[in-house]
């Protein structure tokens, strides 16, 4: 178990969270500005919804909660995003995220880690998004193309 240490130490079976939080209308708009999603249902103040891709940043929230020592000695490289979303998330809705490290393996001297996150409505536990994230945790100089 690597909970409480570095992100680079995470191991299969580690559970991150749960954490409860709200994505405010402000951060939804800022995120959408950053990735050029200018649709009014993300940018407006009426019936504003959250882009499903914002689930990815809940990984960082879970990392910060579970690994307060920080990233570790090497930068992470994101390899794959895989999200299944079940219904719209409203800005300002209270959410609960929990993550689990489901796999860690080496391929061509790089360490790959799979993290599965469930994002649920805090009020009643409804599953909103199931997300699988794949990263390389150690991308060293010898790996460079």
């Amino acid at each position: 178990m690597a909970i409480g240490h570095y992100v680079t130490d995470l191991a299969p079976g580690d559970v991150l969270g749960p954490v409860e939080f709200v994505l405010s209308p402000f951060v939804v708009r800022e995120y959408c500005h950053a990735v050029e999603l200018h649709q009014e249902y993300f940018q407006g103040s009426h019936d504003q919804i959250v882009p499903p891709t914002l689930v990815h940043l809940q990984k960082l929230r879970l990392y910060q909660h579970a690994c307060p020592a920080g990233t570790g000695p090497t930068a992470r490289v994101h390899v794959e995003y895989d999200a299944t979303y079940h219904e719209a998330i409203r800005a300002g809705e209270k959410l609960r995220a929990v993550g689990k490290i489901t796999d860690r393996y080496s391929k061509r001297e790089r360490d790959y880690v799979h993290l599965e996150i469930e994002l649920r409505a805090a009020a009643d536990g409804r599953l909103l998004i199931a997300y699988r994230d794949t990263v390389i945790l150690a991308y060293s100089k010898k790996d460079a193309a």
Binding site: V35, I49, P51, H56, L60, R61, D82, Y139, K141
Partner: protein
């Protein structure tokens, strides 16, 4: 296209290819996503920045074995989502799936086009049609840098 409504387009059919306008992956676009991360985490109404990353600091990127800064993969994922939103409206953000894999790095100032090809169309219910699409981002040379698939539950509304 980034409007709030679906684009005016002929009915989709299997094999149909959809393409966004070309965009350059500028340093500013990379930096905006870097800063979005601590801004979302803090959620205090202010913009935050973070320590150097491989997405906004050339020296740090080189220290990690890269030739220079590379774009965060989530930018291309969101650009693909934007294409789907242009076609399907907010349905593409409400129910479905998006999987993207970053098969090549995107370097500063590379020109990127988001693409989708309709793989299947299935009428699930009276008021809902399920579209399965191959999705990808490619350079102006046609080299795929991000690949994946999407499922969109499109409602008749």
């Amino acid at each position: 296209m980034t409007g709030s409504q679906r684009i005016a387009a002929p009915p989709l059919h299997v094999g149909m290819e959809l393409r966004s306008a070309a965009r350059q992956m500028t340093r500013e676009r990379m930096r905006r996503y870097v800063d979005a991360q601590p801004t979302v985490a803090a959620d205090d109404g202010r913009i935050h920045t973070q320590e150097p990353t491989i997405h906004d600091d050339d020296a740090f990127a080189r220290s990690q074995g890269l030739p220079g800064i590379i774009a965060d993969g989530m930018i291309s994922t969101n650009w693909i989502l934007g294409l789907l939103l242009d076609v399907f409206g907010r349905d593409a953000a409400e129910k479905g799936r998006l999987r993207t894999k970053y098969v090549k790095p995107i370097y500063e100032d590379q020109t990127i086009v988001s693409c989708a090809r309709v793989e299947s169309i299935h009428k699930e219910k009276e008021e809902e049609t399920i579209f399965r699409l191959e999705v990808w981002c490619e350079t102006d040379s046609g080299i795929k840098v991000t690949v994946g698939e999407a499922v969109v539950h499109s409602t008749d509304r």
